[in-house]
Subunit: 211 residues, 2 copies
DNA sequence: CCAATTCGATACTGGAAGGTATCGGAACAA
DNA sequence: TTGTTCCGATACCTTCCAGTATCGAATTGG
């Protein structure tokens, strides 16, 4: 009978793959992505920075695109943990605390890498639909959760447009990172929370001019 | 005496340059920038689409980067005219009218071209500082003017954080165009104006939780 | 008419980069 | 020990592309 073994690799005899090489290559990819963008990133430079051979890379990722996408996924995994969100008792405290843990330098590197990914999307029609690449999506999700908790507490009206309000800070961060290419400062975050997001949520009653 | 003529080109004898070629090339550049991004854009493809020879391009722009930057400037010139902003009497009407004139298709092309520019910035350290490339900057300026006019009318308190509020809609547009790659719909704009921007401006009194 | 310049088209050059192949050495299983 | 796989390194191939050069035709001023 044909196909005697569907899963033949039962005896991996030779040397084993070093998992450290994976993360070294992925980290080098993120670094370069943040520095020179997707097209400026060459596989040779990645291998160079990771102190790896190109063969080691291509044994794991068949193409440059696969490598970058996996690097972005690896970066996302290091981001916000939706299971362990801040819980300070007030929505204001929660939103401000959401930024605190990750030092701004880390956030800056992440943002710049994201800018590199944008260029990749431009050349890959169909990739945008998946949305798997976006760093900002989990952050919007975190904002949503915090706001829904506040609504359940009665801190903000149930009629508030949380879906929209949760996008304000992330979209502003995206704008600054991608276009302005400046890090988001603590001061700006406080202004966003106190003068934009919280007023919008509280005064969620429609506000058509004055009527 | 040396330097007899500082501006010698007083007798341009031969055939004259056709100004139509300039705009044809710039338009083709914007189109391709929106379709394939900066790195996916080749000078050969631009010349091809513009029905021009490469020599005609390089006679005008010494390098690909110069061409793209000029194309972006040309695109910006077709955008909002800060001298002829809407004046409906209410800030709400003005903000909503700011979007109306430009059909969404045009806005979509502009946004996608902007996404292509982002990739260029990633590879050109120092270009981000100039800010000359950003399509969104004039739009923020327009928002600022409309809001300042409303403040002068007494429609919104003078203490409102206009500088910040003016960035909300443009940054959201940038996020959707660059990351989500979807056009901004009229419905979303109305929600942004009524439930975020206007409440933020009216209730500009600090809102720290509840204190 | 004539010289100068522009036009579109095309061939060419030099370099950069994705991906493959190979090599000597190391780790690991039988 | 031996065969297999992984490792870093490097040479190599192929494709793509920015930028240049050239050609014949068209336009324009002298």
């Amino acid at each position: 009978m044909l196909m005697p073994e569907i899963d033949p690799p039962l005896s991996p005899r030779g040397r084993k793959r070093d998992p450290d090489r994976d993360i070294a290559i992925l980290e080098a990819t993120i670094d370069l992505l943040a520095e020179v963008g997707y097209d400026g990133l060459s596989t040779a430079k990645v291998a160079d920075r990771a102190l790896a051979g190109k063969g080691t890379m291509y044994r794991r990722w068949p193409t440059k695109t696969d490598l970058v996408l996996d690097a972005v996924a690896h970066m996302k995994a290091q981001q916000i943990d939706l299971e362990a969100l801040p819980d300070t008792g007030s929505l204001r405290g929660d939103l401000l605390a959401l930024f605190q843990p990750s030092d701004s330098a880390q956030l800056d590197r992440t943002s710049r890498a994201m800018a590199g990914v944008v260029s990749m999307i431009s050349q890959m029609p169909g990739l945008a639909e998946t949305g798997d690449y976006s760093i900002f999506a989990p952050w919007i999700a975190a904002n949503t959760i915090l706001m829904e908790r506040a609504a359940k507490r009665g801190e903000i009206p149930a009629a508030a447009d949380i879906a929209l309000a949760a996008q304000i800070i992330p979209s502003m961060a995206a704008y600054r990172a991608l276009i302005l290419r400046v890090a988001i400062e603590k001061d700006l975050l406080v202004r966003l929370v106190d003068q934009i997001v919280l007023p919008a949520l509280h005064e969620s009653t429609a506000h058509p001019s004055r009527r």
